[in-house]
């Protein structure tokens, strides 16, 4: 009984480590994309847009793939889903950007940006789920 408890705590500990390691990678990845986009004429807004859409596509694929397999690593979702893609994509910056656009009185973009993000994000996630689910 004690052994089983020890085993379960060690697995949770390893899951946490997977989350943390993935989170570090994802956050650095997002800075990298923002850095590259920042050097072009594109608005930083579109860096957030790009990471959010790409992240949704990949997560959809990974989740569907994971669900379809009986022998899938218990660290896959904590590492890739919560860690890497959780940190790569961002909700807080997305909301703050919408708020800033509205505050600046830029109403067209303030309405178009969240609608486009959600529309494209949902479509990307759906595409990922369909790809990942197909045998």
């Amino acid at each position: 009984m004690t052994d089983r408890l020890n085993l379960s705590t060690s697995i949770t500990g390893r899951r946490r480590f997977a989350v943390a390691a993935g989170g570090a990678l994802g956050a650095v990845g997002r800075v990298l994309v923002a850095d590259v986009v920042g050097r072009t004429d594109f608005d930083v807004l579109w860096a957030t847009f790009a990471v959010n859409i790409v992240g949704s596509l990949i997560l959809g694929y990974v989740v569907a793939r994971h669900a379809g397999r009986s022998r899938s690593s218990p660290f896959l979702i904590p590492f890739v889903g919560v860690g890497v893609l959780g940190a790569f994509t961002t909700f807080s910056l997305f909301s703050a950007e919408v708020f800033e656009l509205a505050r600046a009185g830029d109403w067209v973009v303030a309405v178009a940006y969240p609608l486009l993000s959600i529309g494209a994000g949902f479509a990307a996630a759906l595409l990922g789920v369909r790809f990942g689910g197909s045998k």
């Binding site: 943390a20 989170g23 956050a27 989740v63 959780g86 703050a96 949902f122 990922g128």
Partner: protein, 125 residues
């Protein structure tokens, strides 16, 4: 230097999210992905607060990047929000579609609202 700081704070943010969303999902036993909602709303609130606190103040860039890009970026998530919405839609029928629509609209409205409240409190401090 920036990368190391962002990576470290991203790891902390991801860990915090893992804990908070897990606890929230246990507290409210519902099919609605409340864990993701809780981290995203609290993350948006914190982003608004941070935005107000750094505006017009001489705060080191690295600190803002660590907190805003690293921690809050790792803490909040867009991809899980989208995939959970897709899974809700795929759960079947009109109920599934309604759940998906709810899960897209509620966090969006609540998120921007949370930024505004955080910002107002930050200005007031």
């Amino acid at each position: 230097m920036t990368w190391v700081v962002v990576g470290a704070f991203g790891a902390l943010g991801a860990l915090a999210r893992y804990g908070v969303s897990g606890i929230a999902q246990l507290m409210w036993r519902t099919t609605f992905p409340v864990g993701t909602l809780v981290v995203n709303i609290t993350g948006a609130f914190a982003a608004g607060l941070l935005l107000a606190l750094v505006t017009g103040r001489d705060v080191p860039d690295l600190l803002v990047t660590a907190a805003g890009v690293g921690f809050l970026g790792g803490y909040s998530t867009f991809s899980t929000w989208m995939v959970e919405s897709v899974l809700a839609a795929e759960s079947g029928g009109r109920v599934g579609l309604r759940r998906a629509a709810e899960n897209l609209v509620v966090p969006l409205v609540a998120g921007v609202g949370a930024v505004a409240i955080g910002f107002a409190i930050g200005q007031w401090i």
